[in-house]
Point group: C2
Chain length 145, copies 2
């Protein structure tokens, strides 16, 4: 039940882009250095975020990445889904016709519990936007990086 470094690094990178939203593209290297993320690894992750349409890339010198949408319109759930796959504790919950596929998982009470778990996870991740994350960080002692 863990978020891997893919999700963690991805959210941190998006957080970073939010802090500098509207000030032009930020190169991967800068994000990596300031957030303490391995550069080549982050490049790989941000490529996925680009293909998913969450960030926009600008190639060449002075290039880099920017958020593809305003921070209010991107949720942490969006980021996690791209980098970690569907947010679901049990694979079968996400498939059509899973009732038959799961077969032995059978007893619907268990299925309902997994569904409740899934719902509660999504409720948190889908209601937290990048904007609200930055907003919240303003009330912290720490300096946002």
């Amino acid at each position: 039940m863990r978020i891997s470094t893919r999700g963690e690094y991805g959210v941190r990178a998006m957080f970073h882009l939010t802090l500098h939203y509207g000030k032009g593209p930020i190169p991967v290297r800068t994000i990596a250095e300031q957030q303490g993320i391995p550069e080549y690894y982050l490049e790989q992750l941000i490529g996925a975020l680009r293909r998913a349409g969450l960030v926009t890339s600008i190639r060449g010198a002075q290039g880099g990445y920017t958020l593809a949408h305003p921070p209010e319109d991107i949720t942490v759930g969006d980021v996690i889904r791209v980098l970690e796959g569907p947010i679901t504790p049990m694979e079968c919950l996400d498939k059509a016709g899973a009732e038959t596929e799961c077969g032995v998982l059978g007893p619907c009470a268990m299925r309902k519990m997994w569904q409740r778990l899934k719902d509660s996870m999504e409720r948190v991740l889908d209601t937290t936007t990048l904007a609200s994350l930055v907003q919240e960080s303003l009330f912290c002692e720490e300096e946002p990086v």
Copy 2:
């Protein structure tokens, strides 16, 4: 963000033991057959549940396993923690002095969000007991196995 087969099989096995609670020990093979779980693998998992004190074993012929406590006193969270480790989306949330260790994870807003996620997951898993699971399954069309 998935529960692995360890947790899934473990919950199914405990569910099975709950259905037969008070009727003497159930051998691993029986659970495995009726729940469609690889026998040797389940043996390994149930050994962990025994060492954690969630089930009691009775060796020898006519032996097997029983719940170590009434089904009302065992939660799904208990089972998951034994087989999957701590229920936490981010490792650092579970350590003492993590504020300093996490270092670059820095901005507390992210930490708070992970904490909210963790809390919401635990709320579901720790309020679902084996007894409530079986109770709920009585209102389903399916036959409990």
